[in-house]
């Protein structure tokens, strides 16, 4: 990791088009100004961590919720029983109709650049 010492008002350039300005330093707080092309994502490190942790929590917690109706054979299979009838029923997939991703009310509130 490159470590630089900078004072308020001084600049760090990253590549041709990214500039980080030290706006002010007060106690243990540093205010930074970042000039970057709009397509470069600039987010606080904590946000990445928070969303990542929330995704994990969501995946874990979905197990608390009841599921689609399942056949007795499937339930038996989950419990680890596996006589031949149940295996053959397991081999037959259940046909499902996925939802179309087309929720209408979104349109007005999605701000595009």
């Amino acid at each position: 990791m490159l470590v630089l010492t900078r004072r308020a008002g001084q600049v760090v350039k990253i590549g041709d088009d990214i500039e980080v300005v030290v706006v002010s330093v007060r106690g243990d707080q540093v205010r930074l100004g970042i000039c970057a092309p709009r397509e470069v994502s600039v987010v606080r490190g904590e946000l990445l961590k928070q969303v990542s942790e929330e995704n994990r929590a969501a995946a874990q917690s979905s197990r608390l919720i009841g599921s689609l109706p399942q056949s007795k054979e499937e339930a038996a299979l989950k419990q680890g029983r596996s006589d031949t009838d149940e295996v053959s029923s397991r081999a037959r997939p259940r046909s499902v109709k996925p939802l179309s991703v087309s929720a209408a009310p979104t349109t007005g509130s999605l701000g595009l650049p």
Binding site: A59, P98, L110, L112
Partner: protein, 173 residues
């Protein structure tokens, strides 16, 4: 195509209905292909109906399924200012081509921002800071980070009676 899922058993559906998250979700970088399934549960009366909630089931990992919802149904004022980089990566030029899903978490006695907003014993919260935006035409999607600080990762959607939640009966609607 046919996939195995822990929750629903073996499922068959048209391959065209897959949604591809080429960068995965934060924390799940290896899961790219998902299918959006309706949320239907056996109620006490034995019937089941359509619901605004859905499952985002991984087509690659039988165990991975997220409860999700179209956020505007519960948060009508929710606004996403889609960053340029995300719009470009998704090939989105027109907001009408976009669909949004928000992942939900079921929390038990959790807190938000440390201790300031204690949640009820059982609550469903929506992660409005990290919505999944999908280009409906290409079926490519990505988890977008909203960095402006207006939204957090735990917005309360519903408070639940724990027993009903375990049976999944009180989420219908």
């Amino acid at each position: 195509m046919v996939i195995d899922t822990f929750r629903f058993g073996r499922l068959e559906f048209p391959e065209e209905s897959l949604v591809t998250l080429s960068e995965g979700l934060l924390g799940f970088p290896d899961d790219h292909r998902f299918v959006v399934l309706p949320f239907r549960c056996e109620s006490e009366s034995g019937g089941s109906g359509p619901s605004s909630l859905c499952w985002l089931q991984s087509a690659d990992n039988p165990q991975l399924a997220f409860l999700a919802v179209e956020p505007h149904l519960f948060f009508p004022d929710y606004e996403i200012d889609l960053p340029d980089g995300d719009a470009r990566a998704l090939g989105l030029r027109d907001a009408r081509q976009a669909s949004v899903l928000t992942l939900l978490t079921v929390s038990r006695g959790a807190t938000r921002n440390g201790e300031r907003f204690p949640l009820p014993p059982m609550a469903v919260t929506a992660n409005l800071a990290g919505p999944i935006v999908v280009n409906m035409r290409s079926r490519q999607g990505r988890q977008v980070l909203l960095a402006d600080g207006r939204y957090g990762t735990k917005h309360i959607l519903a408070e639940m009676d724990g027993e009903k939640m375990a049976r999944g009966t009180s989420l219908e609607g």
